[in-house]
Amino acid sequence: MTINEKQDEIIEEFDLFDDQLDKTQYIIDLGKKLPPLPDYLHVDANLIPGCQSKVWLNSELKADTVHFEADAEPTAQISRGLVSLLIRVLSDQKPEDVANADLYFIDRIGLSNLVTSRRAGGMASMIQRMKSFANENAL
């Protein structure tokens, strides 16, 4: 699936919910399912700056795609859910596609208010780090 196909799929899933609290519940549930990073990847170099809660991102080049894994501290369920959505959309895609991705799903599922203010600093930094890794590895 392309990045945009994945975004559209997520938009469809969130369309099932009218209430913001139900959307948040869905994000929390996604967070609960996010597999934890192995301990050796919980290193400072993988820490995303600007997050209220600790978020780690590990980036690798696998064949001709970029592969991302991420984790957030266990109590920060909303961050974990947001992280899991970003991984779902951007991981295992071609570097140039990640670098040029327009992440419209964030607005469309009404996440912008979750990803705004102080939390935004962290999520925006995570997106930026994913994109810059992709950019470094783009053809």
């Binding site: 519940q25 209220q52 109590t75 920060a76 369920q77 909303i78 961050s79 939390r119």
Partner: protein, 412 residues
């Protein structure tokens, strides 16, 4: 709406005085519990701002025309209102600043730079806001002074024995918060001031969180400086006050140079104006200063005792109600507290708590509350803080409790 047991406080009327409260947030009636960050503004303050710009706007002090006269006289009337609010000896002891932070910086940059040198000690406390830490650290770096910190107990109270041990003839400034923004602790400032004076130190009290809750009498306290922000006192943002004793203010050099703060300027030498103007360079925040008088009048009309009694009832009610929630721990259990409750929920990040409360229309603050050293001392990353003001109700506290139960259900 449940009314409190204070017949003089008409909560419905008070809430009607604050137009912002009547709105839906995320489809639910707004519950505003972020009053320690900033209070909402009563109609009288909003009207004063509009009135000034609609009728009186002019630059003050040097204008010869009618508008300038009106603006100047309203501006100076605010100074008198603040003087009376703090019970300062004279209006000239009231300096208008941009806020508490600005006022502390003014003292550090003028008094501090002039009178402190290598090895002199500045004493603050563990529960200070960053704005009462960083200006002193900057002064220490510049002048080679030493910053010392009064420790606290687990309840969030100053250890007074330790304070006395830290006071020596090297202590030149004691700068302590009157009321902790993160915990609500009311510090025994009169005691701290008297002890500091006994070793010859001057004392600055950071009153940012105190002025709405506590009667302030700077003469009775005998503090050397008292600072606060108007926006936490139902007034506009960008406006604060430095009270200083005349004798001290007169020995302090000006900080910012420019218009208004001068007597005479030549290219060879400038002589400075008298206090308070010496410290008020440039066109001040005229409209906001003027509107502060309306904020103070609002407080005086309700009566600080009445406000304090209502807030105390809210604090007691909330403390009892929150403690019924499993896994909720109140951070800051000082015997003397204002209506601020910081808490943590086991296994739930404070930011998640804040987000889910917001989605239910409830505004609280989460994080370290600009008190990172305090959070470190308490061994936590941050808290969720609900802070109550005169317009809040016990019904709203019930909404908070239900909101927190929803947070727990969602996270389970």
């Amino acid at each position: 709406m449940q009314t409190a047991t204070y017949p003089t406080l008409d909560l419905a009327q008070i809430r009607a005085d604050f137009p912002i409260l009547d709105q839906l947030v995320n489809g639910r009636p707004l519950v505003y519990f972020d009053n320690a960050a900033t209070t909402q503004k009563p109609r009288a303050v909003l009207d004063a701002l509009a009135h000034y710009y609609e009728h009186d706007n002019a630059n003050i002090h040097r204008g010869i025309h009618a508008l300038a006269e009106r603006a100047t006289s309203a501006f100076e009337a605010s100074r008198k209102a603040v003087q009376s609010f703090l019970n300062a000896r004279e209006a000239e002891e009231i300096i208008f600043t941009y806020g508490t932070t600005d006022a502390i910086n003014l003292v550090a940059k003028t008094y501090g730079r002039t009178f402190l040198g290598k090895g002199d000690e500045i004493l603050i406390s563990t529960m200070e806001h960053h704005s009462n830490i960083v200006p002193w650290q900057m002064l220490c770096e510049e002048r080679g002074c030493v910053l010392k910190v009064i420790p606290i107990n687990d309840e969030g109270e100053l250890l007074l024995d330790e304070y006395e041990k830290l006071l020596t003839e090297r202590t030149k400034i004691v700068s302590v918060v009157h009321v902790s923004n993160a915990l609500g602790t009311i510090n025994p400032v009169k005691y701290l001031i008297d002890k500091a004076h006994a070793v010859g130190a001057v004392v600055l009290i950071d009153g940012a969180q105190a002025t709405t809750h506590i009667e302030i009498d700077v003469q009775a306290l005998d503090c050397d400086f008292y600072v606060f922000s108007a926006h936490k006192l139902f007034g506009p943002t960008g406006m604060g006050v430095l009270y200083g004793k005349r004798a001290l203010l007169e020995t302090m050099p000006p900080w910012r140079g420019g218009g208004e703060m001068i007597k005479e300027v030549t290219f060879e030498k400038t002589t400075y104006n008298d206090i308070p103007y010496k410290f008020e360079a440039g066109t001040p925040n005229i409209a906001d200063v003027i509107a502060v008088r309306n904020a103070l009048e609002y407080v005086n009309t309700l009566g600080k005792d009445t406000i304090a009694a209502h807030e105390h009832e809210l604090l007691t009610y909330a403390t009892d109600a929150l403690q019924t929630i499993d896994g909720l721990r109140i951070i800051g259990q000082a015997k003397e507290k204002v209506s601020v409750i910081s808490f943590v929920l086991d296994g739930i990040h404070h930011e998640d708590t804040g987000v889910i409360l917001d989605q239910q229309g409830i505004a609280v603050r989460t994080g370290h509350h600009c008190c990172q050293p305090l959070m470190r001392r308490l061994g936590i990353a941050g808290t969720t803080r609900a802070s109550f003001s005169v317009y809040n109700t016990t019904d709203e506290i019930d909404r908070l409790v239900k909101g927190l139960q929803r947070v727990k259900t969602m996270m389970a």
